[in-house]
């Protein structure tokens, strides 16, 4: 009992003084001073952010994250985030940057600040060959599997009330649900479904582009200008060496094969044509 009391006391003494102000994200100078840049990435969304069999983070987003830390001359700490909590990680200042395949939307732009894009996507719909869904009309009245907190969830909720949505927390669960036949089709970014269909015989992307063309960009806490500017300068400077094309070659090419033209996905220097 004495030990427990001491523990509680120590806890209270260390926590109370910290309880002061809002969660303010760190500025670029504070990050440099600490010697560590903290970036939130996916840990189960191959090929963008995942953990390989040796326990190392890999993927398109992770390659960029490493470069951001390297050019800043600091260590990199990667934090595993999931689609539904990406915004929370920024607003609560748990990470400096989110680089988790974050699609830019007006709603999200109200709560976080997006840097220049480094990728572009639309929605895609994948379904089994035996009951292929190739148009939006066919999807109405059917069950569509989506992941919570994604663009697919938002778009279908707002535009297609006749499509029944079956929602899951993580990407792994959504794809497993499709394999198990718990829904008629699955929708998420087209990059994601194209790659998945290529590796899962018996499934085809019946609708390749849906909704508006979206961009994917790094995000920082609202008002964190120094870090935002740093990322934007980096993206512009990296265009000179075609960094994101090299990143595509290293991480995405294996997944999409020759069927996809990299210029349809990769954005260089933040410029959309």
């Amino acid at each position: 009992m004495k030990k427990l009391f001491a523990l509680v006391l120590v806890l209270a003494l260390t926590l109370i003084p910290a309880a002061l102000a809002d969660a303010q994200a760190r500025t670029l100078d504070e990050i440099k001073e600490s010697g560590k840049l903290t970036i939130g990435v996916f840990s189960d969304k191959k090929p963008f952010g995942y953990v390989d069999e040796n326990g190392e983070y890999q993927g398109y987003d992770v390659v960029f994250a490493r470069r951001l830390a390297e050019d800043l001359g600091v260590e990199l700490e990667l934090v595993s985030v999931d689609a539904p909590n990406r915004v929370e990680y920024l607003t609560s200042a748990k990470v400096d940057i989110i680089l988790a395949n974050f699609t830019v939307t007006p709603e999200r732009a109200e709560v976080v600040d997006f840097a220049l894009p480094y990728m572009k996507v639309a929605l895609g719909v994948v379904s089994p060959d035996s009951a292929l869904i190739s148009s939006l009309e066919e999807l109405r009245g059917k069950t569509l599997i989506v992941s919570k907190g994604t663009t697919a969830e938002t778009w279908f909720t707002a535009n297609e009330p006749d499509v029944n949505l079956l929602k899951f927390d993580t990407y792994t669960e959504t794809f497993n649900a499709l394999l198990d036949g718990r829904g008629d089709a699955l929708s998420t970014d087209n990059t994601e479904v194209l790659a998945w269909a290529l590796e899962n015989p018996g499934f085809t992307v019946g609708i390749e582009t849906l909704g508006s063309l979206d961009t994917i960009a790094p995000a920082v806490q609202k008002g964190n200008e120094s870090v935002l500017n740093y990322i934007n300068e980096e993206i512009k400077a990296l265009a000179a060496e075609n960094f994101f094309h090299a990143d595509y070659e290293a991480t995405l090419k294996d997944v999409y094969g020759d069927a996809v033209n990299p210029d349809n996905l990769v954005v260089e220097g933040g410029v959309i044509d």
């Binding site: 969660a23 189960d44 069999e53 326990g55 595993s80 909590n85 609560s92 748990k94 998945w196």
Partner: protein
């Protein structure tokens, strides 16, 4: 078989065991704190003082009604946003699970104590035991025996519920499983079944000894 091989690729298996370690560590700390605090809370819950009674009631209803995930988000993100109180995911998890466990455990203790017939207390007093002595030698030992089955139930529920901590960035056994499945999803799409089966056995072997110990205690005391 290629799908099962994923389990032993690289250091996947070690990572899975590491994840189990995180799950067990969080569970054991939380369950231990819950049992200790729960005993005290349970005694408080039997008191007639209206203020204490109302507070305890509020606590118990809170942990019963609010989903654990909401509590985790409140402590991990909410405290950071409102008070700039940056807790690690692990600390937030222990706080939430102890808050939940101690509340529920307290109610179990209260139930066990009030179920002891009044004549036990009266007999203890008649024998000249002080209040503290009657608690120590008469009431608590009997209450403990009635408590075991439900307390075990609570402990195993807590172990299983720790899988929620993946949503506050703590990489525990289920999240490691999810990472392994995803990293192999192009090469071995069926690996999910195997990995989840292994995770199932890991949870089973984490909870089973607790049930065994409970059975042994019940037998010993009956």
């Amino acid at each position: 078989m290629q799908d099962l091989a994923v389990l032993f690729k690289g250091n996947n298996f070690q990572r899975l065991m590491g994840g189990l370690g995180v799950t067990l560590e969080l569970s054991l700390i939380s369950v231990a704190l819950s049992v200790v605090l729960g005993l005290a809370v349970g005694v408080l819950m039997t008191l007639k003082n209206p203020v204490i009674h109302a507070l305890m009631r509020l606590w118990l209803e809170t942990v019963r009604i609010v989903p654990q995930l909401v509590l985790l988000f409140l402590v991990y993100f909410g405290l950071a946003k409102t008070f700039n109180l940056q807790l690690s995911g692990e600390a937030a998890a222990v706080i939430v699970f102890t808050f939940w466990g101690a509340g529920e455990m307290g109610d179990l203790v209260r139930g066990a104590i009030t179920s002891i017939p009044a004549h036990q207390r009266e007999s203890a007093a008649a024998l000249g035991l002080t209040k503290a002595q009657s608690w120590r030698y008469v009431l608590l030992p009997q209450a403990a025996r009635r408590l075991i089955p439900q307390a075990i139930n609570l402990a195993t529920r807590m172990i299983k519920t720790t899988s929620l901590v993946m949503l506050i960035g703590v990489v525990e056994v289920l999240k490691v499983g999810s990472q392994i499945i995803d990293a192999a999803r192009y090469d071995a799409p069926q690996a999910a079944v195997w990995i989840y089966a292994v995770v199932f056995f890991l949870y089973f072997f984490a909870c089973w000894p607790i049930s065994l110990a409970a059975g042994w205690l019940e037998k010993k005391w009956s």
